[in-house]
Amino acid sequence: MAEIDRDKLLDIYTRTMKVNRTDEKFRQLLMQGKVAVMYYCVRGQELVSAAAMAALDDDDYVVCTYRGQGEQTAKGIPMEKWWGECLGKETGTCKGKGGTMHITDPDTGIMVTTGVVGSGLPIANGLAMASQNNGDGKVTLVSFGDGAANIGGFHEAMNMAQLYKLPVVFLCQNNRYGEHTAYADHTDSDNIASRAAGYGMKGVTVDGNNVHEVYPAVQEAVDRARAGEGPTLVEAMCYRMMGHFFGSDFSYMPPEHLEEMQKEDPLPKLRAVMLEHQFTEEELDKIVADIDAQIDAAVEHALAADLPSTDEIYKDVLEETA
């Protein structure tokens, strides 16, 4: 078990709780009827996103999916802009034209959030190819689910990345479901990471609920990519503790599976690790309280913000219409 220094643990904890509190707030707002938008819950996957973002430099690139709240907030998109976009306001990252499934914030390296399963991998290769071409030293991390591992673009991208030794990290958040279909009903192999061998790539499967496994694995993959040693497929085993999207039926998830998920919940486990490392309950509570206050302020800001002007529909189609 690799040791993680206290500063890094604190960083990971803070990012994890930011993801978790954002998720909680979003579900609360949806349940209260204060907002009515598509939202893909990340409960259960907070640590994977947070640990992965903690392994990157600020200017590294990230490509994520519609279930990308974790990467987006943990990478550091300013909360006011993030909430503004989710609420379709002009203050949003994309002036309200992208929405929850298409958050883009190049300032923090969030280059693409795709709503199409598996489409991020080929694009991540391109970002990494640009870095390889111009020598800027950046690493690109692309996050996707186990469902994405069965689409053609996944295979094309993995092969190409290894062929060119691109500085890219493929992070598969194996949350055991592709939309409503359980892992065993869409894939017959034991894991996704073993596919890497088919491309001559390094692949690892780690426990995404254990900070001591997931962070070092991603960090090593990032270091290898930055050193020019090529891509890695990191598969982080985790659980999607909610339905496919907020409000969707999840009766198809068997009760024993729900029990197992509760047992493996990454948040109490991470809290225990923090306490082992002599962080106090008060310190940890204070971090969460501060995050909650920031989120509340950002939500208020977004709720009060103006809607985008309707002439925005014609803008940004092509440069001429910018």
Binding site: Y61, V63, G92, T93, C94, K95, G96, K97, G98, H102, T104, D105, P106, M111, V112, T114, G115, V116, S119, L121, P122, I123, A124, N125, G126, L127, A128, M129, A130, S131, Q132, N133, N134, T140, G152, G153, E156, A157, N159, M160, L163, Y164, E312, K315, D316, V317, L318, E319, A322
Partner: protein
């Protein structure tokens, strides 16, 4: 000035853009020196000059090719990717339509996607149903991309430079039968602006609106019709989408008659859109219905005589012009 072929024109345009800007690079199947500089030799000689990082030969992975171009473009480079034959875009439409075309818009203008997608196609060489289609209408129907096709070597050089300069995705269609066409070399730095049509031949009786290889047929027919006293104006769109509406409408307002012509199948083709637009905007000046010619609504057949019957013929163009101007 020396004569150049369309192949040379494209090669020269890419070469000079690569020399001027380190961010310009090519990727696609068989493009590098190891494979002889691509099936149609457009990238011949460039690997020796710029190295394998900038002339990247790829696996046969269209989604990965276009996706890589999208990603590199988002990072500020100017990739020129190649989908060897236009029918293969069916493999990678998600990257073109959902990503390249939309990332500028969906990001509120933050992530433009300056890339060129070169692709070859054309009917008349016996390639059959999966290697011949003109699919420009698929892309013309999507907001956020330019669709371009040259009808001569000089325009090929100028349009390619303009396409590489553009800060949005450009689908650049090369007709396989046009690679050997020669023009006087317009010289280094030559650009044909995107979105500007050319009046390839002036006329007063009818506007024949077309692009790509069929411009050659249009000019030939226009020459013949001149002898019969019918003055045909040939408009070469050069950029199919978004097209130069001003030039088209001005031509039709002048002649009062219009005929659209393309190799792509007629139903729901670009000719239909242009015809509808003309009828909305030139109604008071129209002397008759806008007519359309396109390929047969079937897959492109293999046998030579079937293929020739499939494609719009010069006699069909003559017939439609005569019907339009009231001559038979």
């Amino acid at each position: 000035m020396a004569e150049i072929t369309m192949t040379q024109a494209l090669n020269l345009a890419i070469d000079e853009a690569m020399a001027e800007d380190d961010g310009v690079f090519c990727l696609g199947e068989d493009v590098s020196a190891k494979q002889g500089g691509r099936v149609f030799k457009v990238t011949a000689g460039l690997t020796e000059k710029y190295g394998e990082h900038r002339i990247r030969a790829t696996p046969i992975s269209e989604t990965a090719i276009v996706g890589a171009a999208v990603g590199a473009a988002l990072a500020g480079q100017r990739p020129i990717c190649e989908i060897m034959l236009m029918n293969f875009v069916g493999v990678c439409m998600d990257q073109i339509v959902n990503h390249a075309a939309k990332l500028r818009y969906m990001s509120g203008g933050q992530t433009p996607c300056p890339m060129v997608l070169r692709t070859t196609t054309g009917v008349g060489v016996g390639f059959g149903g999966q290697h011949s289609d003109m699919l420009e209408a698929w892309f013309a129907h999507v907001a956020g991309i330019h669709v371009v096709t040259p009808s001569n070597a000089a325009d090929a050089r100028g349009l390619m430079r303009a396409a590489i300069d553009a800060n949005d995705p450009v689908i650049f269609i090369e007709n396989i039968l046009c690679y050997g066409l020669t023009s006087e070399d317009p010289g280094p730095g030559y650009r044909v602006p995107l979105g500007k049509a050319a009046v390839a031949k002036e006329g007063t009786d009818i506007s024949l609106i077309t692009y790509g290889r069929t411009v050659l047929d249009a000019l030939e027919v226009a020459g013949e019709m001149e002898k019969e006293g019918v003055s045909v104006e040939v408009v070469d769109l050069r950029t199919i989408a978004p097209y130069d509406e001003a030039t088209v409408l001005a031509s039709v307002n002048k002649t009062g008659r219009a005929l659209t012509l393309h190799e792509a199948v007629r139903p729901f083709g670009t000719g239909a859109e242009i015809a509808a637009n003309i009828q909305e905007k030139c109604w008071d000046n129209l002397k008759g219905p806008v007519r359309r010619i396109g390929g047969t609504f079937a897959a492109v057949p293999f046998a030579s005589h079937l293929e020739q019957a499939w494609i719009p013929t010069k006699s069909e163009i003559v017939e439609q012009i005569k019907a339009s101007v009231g001559k038979d």
